[in-house]
Each structure stands twice: as structure tokens, then as C-alpha cells.
């Protein structure tokens, strides 16, 4: 087990290194001229020269990369060409926003997965209709799901759920940036519930695809392990059907479901970027698309690095958890 963890962490470092290198190289070979974006089109020659020094453009590439990488390790993501501020400061409010949405989306995906898998295993008219609805939603692009949910829950049902922003009240001054948590910490139920209500629609739009995929894997796993010899043995020993489901069915189905969730984390990250735009959610995605609009590559690179690192870390964590649960993974 230790050697597996060491190996896995080793490859994590390698992947993170190359991720950094690729993003750095992209910034060097890209079409955009960083100095011009930084100073504006009308800058004088002196201003351009000063900006070149400030951005370190004339340093050897190896030095630039070393600075970039060490900066990353210290949490310094560089300077935004558009806002001319430290990107880390820009992101300090949008990172919690995206993380909160991502956590809500993962939780919702698990809820959808478990509820739907029950429908998959127990066929019936209602189940069939629901399955069709969810299957179509799952193959739709996430911004379509987002738009449709806004139309239904905000426009046609007269605003039962809010369709924009994170809160009707704005942040607490001493808040953590996670609004639901802030509400709980301050003991304000109105605030907490309002934050949760704002989370529901975007989280649904970002999670429905993963939820449906999860449901299929869970349903497959449960059906096959409920028909297995060990389930039969458990039944013959007099265990009730629900105990067999809980102790053998769910437990055996959970390991493929977990690895599927890890794969889908990357998918969810990219749909979050899109969904945030529809709901004017001030997270990494909105920051990213603003940066794309003005050609601010350091900011784009920073967001891509953060999202990429989260994805890679999550995958490693899931691999280690799987290996702890299932000895076969350790050997392969």
C-alpha cells in the first residue's frame, strides 16, 4: 500500500510539473503580445520598455520558467495584464465561489445518481418517463440545461428559485467566501437558505450529466452483485433483502461509482465554467471568460492551472482511496 501511494504521488508531481510547463510554453508561443495588452495600444516607447522589464520578458526563458514555477509554489499566480493586479488577489473571492458551487454539484450528482439508480433497477411507467427526461438532459450541453432550468423555475413558475448571483444580501464582511457556511456561522437561517436557493439551479445544470452516468454505473453494479453467489449465500443465511442490498449490493457497486465520479470531476469543472456564465456566478468561470474577452493570457493560464491542479489532485485522491478499499487496484 505504501509503495502504491508513493508511486501515485510521484506521478502526481510529474503531471503537475508538465501541466505547469505546458501552460507556460503556451504563454510564450501564443499569438498575443503581452506587453501591448499590458500597456495599451497608445503607450510610448519608454512605457513599453518599462513594462518589458516589469513583466520580465527579456529574461532567458529558463529564468522566466523558474520564476513562474517558484511563484506558483508560493501561491503567486503572476500579474493580470488587464487589471494589472495580482491574479491571486483577483481570485481570492472567485475561488470560494466556484468551490462552493462545485461541492454542491458533486453532492447533487450523488443524490441524482442514487435516486435514479433506484428507478433503473425498479422498472415502471413513471420510472421510464423520468429516465427518458434525465437521459435527454444528460446528453444536452450544460448551458442548455442551465437555460431551460432558468426558463422553468424563474420565468414560468414566477421566480420560485433565483436565477442569478450567489445571494440576495451580499457577502458578510468577515465571511469565509462560502456563503452557505457563512450563513450557518452567523446563525442566520434566512441567509443560509437564500444561499442554498441560489446554488440549486446552477448546481443542477452542472451535475445532471454526471448524476445520470453515476446512476447507470450504480444500477449495473447493484444488479450484478445482487445476482452474485455471495448475495445468494447471504440470502440463504437468512439476511433480509434490504440488508443484502446495503451490505453487498451497494458496497460492491460503490467502487466503480467512485472512480466514475473522479473522471466526471474534470467534466464537471468544464461545465461549471459554462454554467457560471449563465447564472452570473462570480467564480473562476466568469473570471476566465472576462480574461478571454480581453486577451489576458496570464489570467487565463492561472485559472486553467488551478482547475487542472484540482482535477489532478482529486483523481490521485480517489485512486488512493480506491486502493485502500479494493486490494486488486494496488496490484495492477
Amino acid at each position: 500500500m505504501t509503495s502504491f501511494v508513493v508511486k501515485r504521488l510521484g506521478s502526481l508531481v510529474v503531471v503537475l510539473f508538465f501541466l505547469t510547463a505546458i501552460v507556460f510554453i503556451l504563454g510564450k508561443v501564443g499569438n498575443a503580445d503581452p506587453v501591448r495588452t499590458y500597456t495599451g495600444v497608445n503607450a510610448s516607447a519608454e512605457q513599453v520598455a518599462a513594462a518589458r522589464v516589469e513583466l520580465g520578458i527579456d529574461d532567458p526563458v529558463s529564468v522566466q520558467f523558474a520564476n513562474f514555477a517558484t511563484g506558483l509554489l508560493q501561491g503567486d499566480l503572476g500579474i493580470s495584464l488587464a487589471t494589472k493586479r495580482n491574479i491571486s488577489d483577483d481570485l481570492s473571492s472567485s475561488l470560494p465561489a466556484t468551490l462552493e458551487l462545485a461541492l454542491a454539484a458533486i453532492a447533487l450528482a450523488i443524490v441524482i445518481g442514487v435516486v435514479l439508480s433506484a428507478l433503473y433497477t425498479r422498472p415502471g411507467r413513471v420510472g421510464q418517463v423520468l429516465r427518458l427526461v434525465f437521459f435527454s438532459l444528460a446528453s444536452a450541453p450544460s448551458f442548455l440545461v442551465a437555460m431551460l432550468s432558468v426558463l422553468v423555475f424563474y420565468k414560468w413558475l414566477g421566480g420560485v428559485l433565483p436565477a442569478a448571483g450567489r445571494s440576495s444580501f451580499g457577502p458578510y464582511d468577515d465571511g469565509t467566501g462560502f456563503y452557505v457556511l457563512d450563513g450557518i456561522l452567523h446563525g442566520s437561517w434566512t441567509y443560509t437558505w437564500d444561499a442554498i436557493a441560489h446554488l440549486l439551479l446552477p448546481a443542477f445544470a452542472a451535475s445532471v450529466t454526471s448524476g445520470v452516468a453515476l446512476a447507470r454505473v450504480l444500477a449495473d453494479g447493484i444488479t450484478s452483485s445482487m445476482a452474485s453467489p455471495w448475495a445468494r449465500t447471504a440470502r440463504s443465511l437468512g439476511e433480509s433483502e434490504s440488508a443484502v442490498l446495503r451490505r453487498h449490493g451497494l458496497r460492491n457497486a460503490s467502487s466503480p461509482a467512485l472512480s466514475l465520479l473522479a473522471v466526471h470531476a474534470g467534466f464537471m469543472v468544464s461545465s461549471l465554467v459554462v454554467v457560471e456564465q449563465v447564472f452570473s456566478w462570480n467564480g473562476l468561470g466568469s473570471y476566465l471568460s472576462t480574461a478571454i474577452g480581453v486577451g489576458d493570457f496570464p489570467a487565463i493560464a492561472a485559472v486553467c492551472l488551478i482547475l487542472g491542479a484540482v482535477y489532478v489532485l482529486l483523481n490521485t485522491a480517489v485512486d488512493i482511496v480506491l486502493a485502500a478499499v479494493d486490494p486488486r487496484v494496488r496490484l495492477s
Binding site: A140, F143, L151, G266, I292, I300, V312, N315
Partner: protein, 294 residues
């Protein structure tokens, strides 16, 4: 005498083959699968010839702005500039599908090239190439595609390059496995024993056996590529307006969403429909081919 007997036996074998009920792919498809295959053909036809049949230009205003769908003369309504939505949808469909086909083809050819070299040569080269492939597979695909496209500047070409960069490793892995499997098959062994080596063995005996798998897989991936392209152009990495492109139309329409839902929703629906049709018929074909042992 001997010759004719051998020929007779061969004829018998051929007859036996012919007598066996040959089940076509079409007749073994269910109703829903058939509908989706017809849908794929219809969508491709519309994309192919549609733009020349539409009455209005996709980039010249042709009516009052923000006409709702089913208005007179504008079946799908008009957008904020008075451009005909129907014409824009059809042109956008053409652009998106064409881009997706090109991306898939380039990625498949690139992946096949690398996979064939790795699988056929083996040894150090195989190890090195597969390490690189695994590295790319460990990255979050869409994020890297976004970074590449953003670095190259806003255009559909950079979005296409971005997606190709993350798409080839899938084919490289697949092809490498296939090549190693095929290289152990009797006909390749026989060719090798008869003295066929190197390039000729690869091109004449290995590659043809790998081609069906890779071409089927690639053609089924088009739906996923359409979705990824749409996501990139939705966040601004694609053709700048007013050129019609489905993802971009959807994100531009977001500003008027609550007053004129159709400007944003219709392009999104088109993307969803294309992806659904390709994915659904693709899944059906995949299952069928596996059953037939291709």
C-alpha cells in the same frame, strides 16, 4: 485433379457462407436506433446543402429585430439585429459539424500514426510514446483545450487546434492496443514467416485490420467534439460575431434571455440535438459491431 478438388472444396465453403442468413446492420437495429441514424443523415444533409437553400443571408438583417419563432416569413424568428434565426442556425450547424469532422479526422490520423509506431516498434519508442500519451490523458481535456485555444487567439481554428491537442491520445492508446493484437494474428505471422518485413508488413497486413475499429470510433466521437467546440465558443473561444456559430450564438443571446429566449435557446437546442443523435446512433453501432466481432 488435385487442383479441381481444392477448387470444389473452396466453392462449397463459399456456398456455405452464402447460405448462412446474412443479417445486415440495418435490420438488426431497433426503431429508436433507426430513427437516430436517419436523424444523423438528415442533420448532415441539412448542414451540407442547407445554407444554399435558405431564403435569407445569415449575416444581413432581413426583418424586424426580436421576432418570436413562427413569425411570418421567419419560422425560427429573428435575433436582436433582425438576422433570420433559421438561416443562422443552418449556417452555424454547417460550421460546427464541419469543424468537428476536421478535428476528429486530424486527431484520429495523428493518434493512429503514433499508436501504430508505438505498437509496431515496441521497446523504448513504445514506452516513451505511451508515457507521453498517458501524460496527456491525465490532464483535464477541456481545460487544456481552453488554454491552447486562448493562447492562439480567438478564432475557430484555434479552438479546433485546442481540441485536437487533447483528442489524439485516446486514439493513440486504442490503436496501439489494436496493433499489438493484430500483430499476433495468424495472417500477420504467416506474412512474417514468408519474409514480409517492416513498412510493407505494417501497411499491407497490420493497418488494414486496424482501420475499421479506428474509423468507427472516430466517427462516433463527432457528437462529443461538437459539444466541446460549442463549450469553447460559448465562453468566447471561437469565431467572433457576427459569423454564425452555434455556441457563440447561444452565449450572445444570453443578454436578452428573459425577453427573447429563442435567441439563446434555439442554437443550444441544435447543439444538443446533434450531440444526442450522434451519441445515440453511435452507441447502437458500437454495440452491434462488438456483437459481430469487428
Amino acid at each position: 485433379m488435385l487442383f479441381s478438388r481444392r477448387r470444389a472444396r473452396a466453392t462449397l465453403a463459399l456456398n456455405a457462407l452464402a447460405d448462412r442468413p446474412r443479417e445486415g446492420i440495418w435490420s438488426s437495429l431497433g426503431m429508436a436506433e433507426r430513427a437516430s441514424v436517419i436523424g444523423v443523415v438528415a442533420v448532415s444533409l441539412v448542414a451540407l446543402v442547407g445554407p444554399w437553400l435558405m431564403p435569407y443571408s445569415p449575416i444581413i438583417p432581413s426583418g424586424d429585430p426580436m421576432l418570436p419563432p413562427l413569425s411570418e416569413g421567419h419560422l425560427f424568428g429573428t435575433d436582436t439585429l433582425g438576422l433570420d434565426m433559421g438561416s443562422r442556425l443552418v449556417s452555424g450547424l454547417q460550421r460546427s459539424l464541419l469543424a468537428a469532422v476536421v478535428v476528429t479526422a486530424v486527431a484520429a490520423v495523428l493518434g493512429t500514426f503514433i499508436g501504430v509506431i508505438a505498437g509496431f516498434r515496441g521497446g523504448f519508442l513504445d514506452n516513451a510514446l505511451m508515457r507521453v500519451t498517458d501524460l496527456f490523458l491525465a490532464f483535464p481535456a477541456t481545460i487544456i483545450a481552453m488554454a491552447v485555444a486562448a493562447a492562439l487567439g480567438q478564432s475557430i481554428a484555434s479552438a479546433m487546434v485546442g481540441i485536437t491537442v487533447v483528442w489524439w491520445p485516446l486514439y493513440a492508446r486504442l490503436v496501439r492496443g489494436e496493433v499489438r493484437r493484430v500483430a499476433a494474428l495468424p495472417h500477420v505471422q504467416a506474412a512474417r514467416v514468408s519474409g514480409v518485413r517492416g513498412w510493407r508488413l505494417l501497411v499491407r497486413h497490420v493497418t488494414p485490420a486496424v482501420t475499421p475499429t479506428i474509423s468507427v470510433t472516430a466517427s462516433l466521437d463527432i457528437g462529443a467534439v461538437v459539444m466541446t467546440l460549442a463549450a469553447l465558443s460559448f465562453i468566447g473561444l471561437g469565431t467572433p460575431a457576427p459569423a454564425p456559430e452555434l455556441g457563440r450564438m447561444a452565449s450572445d443571446g444570453m443578454s436578452y434571455f428573459l425577453n427573447a429566449w429563442w435567441i439563446a435557446v434555439l442554437p443550444s437546442l441544435a447543439i444538443g440535438l446533434v450531440a444526442f443523435l450522434f451519441n445515440y446512433s453511435g452507441d447502437a453501432l458500437r454495440v452491434l459491431l462488438r456483437r459481430k466481432g469487428v
